[in-house]
């Protein structure tokens, strides 16, 4: 982040008064947040209150829905399942994509274009079409119902996006740095660990947040791999609330509100690192 001096602020002023910027952003922000606010408010209402007072603030707020959600969800187990799968998936994706991006962009391996398009292009494979063949493949590899199976599946599905972003980012690292290190006798692995890795922290931080969020929220893969038994993730558990056995929107809202908290926490943790990284990156 650049620190603005007085002169620079003046020049910003020419790009538009900061208040009009804020105003526009504020309108967008309310559109962005209202649906969630609506849901969180619903979580604090009883069913009868929700029926009569859909929009307003809860007049008689209650924690009963949260209590019921915790009770029905076996929350500690589901949280653990989701955490292990999501964090594992993030690690697998980051390692695989960093290595791949390094090989393609910096090592310039043969067949790099093919590999790049193969990896990044796999983004476009529609899940519904490969669902059953994927299940068969994973079953053959002994991965169904195993945590490691879900972690690897997450890793594979997060790979294209992460590889592209890292490739773009690594492209911005000057080759001269690497040349200098090579002349000093470093091999490709040393360069990766000592130079590329520290410089990639901002990209890695972003990818951690982005991958964690979609892995945490995903329903299709965890359902396919882990099923609806003890190994299920939190989202699958919350989806159970939506089953035809519940006309209880406040209860569902409570489940939703609980399920979103970890993703928010990871974002808040990661974004500080993001700021630091951006500072380092820009001053470079």
């Amino acid at each position: 982040m650049t620190v603005f001096t007085g002169t620079q602020l003046q020049s910003l002023g020419r790009l538009g008064r900061s208040w009009s910027v804020t105003a526009v952003l504020l309108v967008g922000a309310s559109i962005a947040t209202y649906p969630l606010i609506y849901t969180v408010m619903a979580a604090f209402k009883t069913r009868s209150e929700f029926a009569s007072n859909r929009l307003g603030l809860p007049l008689h707020p209650t924690l009963a829905n949260f209590g019921q959600a915790f009770e029905r969800l076996d929350i500690s187990r589901l949280l653990l399942n989701s955490f292990v799968a999501s964090i594992g998936g993030v690690v697998v994706t980051l390692v695989a994509s960093l290595l791949a991006a390094y090989a393609i962009i910096k090592l310039r391996v043969p067949l790099r274009r093919f590999a790049f398009f193969l990896i990044v292009g796999s983004l476009l494979v529609p899940f519904q079409s490969i669902m059953y063949p994927l299940y068969d493949t994973m079953l053959a590899m002994g991965l169904i119902g195993q945590r490691i199976g879900l972690i690897l599946a997450f890793g594979a599905f997060g790979l294209p996006f992460s590889t592209f972003l890292l490739a773009a980012y690594l492209g911005g690292i000057p080759d001269e740095l690497l040349e200098a290190a090579r002349l000093d006798g470093a091999n490709s692995f040393n360069i990766l660990v000592r130079i590329i890795l520290p410089l990639s922290i901002p990209a890695i931080a972003s990818l951690t947040i982005l991958n964690f969020v979609w892995m945490w929220n995903d329903l299709l893969l965890p359902l396919l791999v882990m099923g609806g038994g003890d190994g299920k993730t939190l989202m699958v558990g919350v989806a159970n609330f939506r089953g035809q056995y519940d006309v209880n929107i406040p209860l569902i809202s409570a489940g939703i509100s609980v399920a979103i908290v970890p993703a928010v926490i990871v974002y808040l943790l990661g974004q500080r690192q993001l700021i630091k990284g951006v500072v380092t990156g820009a001053v470079r």
Partner: protein, 326 residues
């Protein structure tokens, strides 16, 4: 007003890729490394390929084989029909409707590409509260799509918050059953998806903006360039790779990630007004029990979206390479 001309030479050199802005430099013929070293480098690709091949491509090929059969009973053996499933698609009004719909959705792509950039650029101004805005705009993306669908089904209902708002500001004539109208339903679905994915675009663009050389922006500001001119003539060209990547991501999203939203919002209805190929694949496989046919539709979907993405990437890079050489 002074016309903003491209800044003089020294800043221009800084703008060139390879130093500051992250660029995809695959298409540049760069330096060649020793061949000896390169072949060892392939080892670095093993983890990625070891994931992508068994989890994506093996199932894809297997799916393609499935699409050559008429598979009806769940778990049954089926009959070989070769490309019969593909031929059937051509005359099938439901398949045609689904692809026509996705075509309509793709027409909204410019909005998807430009509006997050606008917001990102505004946030990039670092006006008071910019960190809060950045977090807030990202918030919708953190809500699971299937839940977003539930929430918006509430909000877009005939007596839901949106219509109440419209009525209260005197736009009551505009209030309607958003998810029930033949024309408005698809628009509503697109709007909800945009709301959901918007934050990802903002973050992507912010990352791109953060790696831009600030001095160029400052020089432009000193030259008297207005907000829009800076955005469109200077920032947009510099962010070409990010823009094209985000465009491809949106395109992919439109073709293959709308499923949870469709599932919880409209189930493809009313009639087939919001039926998209991805959802049709699901219905055909699990509701209509026609699995071979469903997989065929999915394969065609994959082919279409790959071609479209490939075309976009080529267009963006062709023009950018041409600009560089100019």
């Amino acid at each position: 007003m002074a016309v903003a001309r491209p800044p003089p030479s020294p800043p221009r050199i800084e703008v060139r890729p390879a130093t500051r802005s992250p660029r995809l430099n695959l298409l540049r013929t760069g330096r060649r490394t020793d061949d000896q070293r390169s072949w060892w480098g392939l080892l670095y690709l093993l983890p990625a390929l070891g994931l992508v091949l068994p989890f994506k491509f093996v199932p894809l090929v297997s799916g393609f084989v499935d699409s050559l059969w008429h598979l009806v009973d769940v778990g049954g053996a089926g009959q070989f029909v070769g490309f019969g499933n593909y031929a059937r698609m051509v005359g099938d009004p439901e398949v045609v409707a689904a692809f026509a719909n996705v075509g309509r959705v793709v027409l909204t792509l410019p909005v998807w590409v430009v509006s997050p950039l606008l917001v990102a650029f505004l946030i990039h101004q670092r006006t008071p509260g910019w960190r809060l805005f950045r977090a807030v705009y990202f918030l919708p993306y953190m809500i699971a799509p299937v839940i977003v669908g539930s929430i918006f089904r509430e909000i877009l209902g005939t007596s839901g918050p949106l219509n109440i708002l419209l009525r209260s500001v005197g736009l009551g004539w505009f209030a309607q059953a958003w998810l029930g109208g033949i024309n408005t339903a698809l628009l509503a679905v697109v709007g909800v998806s945009l709301w959901s994915f918007f934050g990802l675009g903002v973050i992507t663009y912010l990352a791109g903006l953060a790696s831009l050389d600030e001095s160029v922006l400052e020089a432009a500001a000193l030259d008297g360039a207005g907000f829009w001119r800076t955005l469109l003539s200077i920032v947009l060209p510099m962010l070409r790779p990010v823009v094209s990547y985000w465009a491809v991501l949106c395109l992919g999203g439109m073709f293959i990630w709308m499923f949870p939203l469709l599932f919880s919002l409209t189930q493809g209805g009313p009639g087939y007004a919001t039926m998209l190929p991805e959802y049709l694949v699901y219905l055909t496989a699990f509701q209509f029990n026609d699995r071979g046919y469903a997989t065929a539709i999915g394969i065609v979907l994959f082919a279409v979206v790959s071609l479209a993405s490939f075309w976009i990437v080529r267009e963006m890079y062709a023009s950018s390479v041409a600009r560089e050489r100019a």
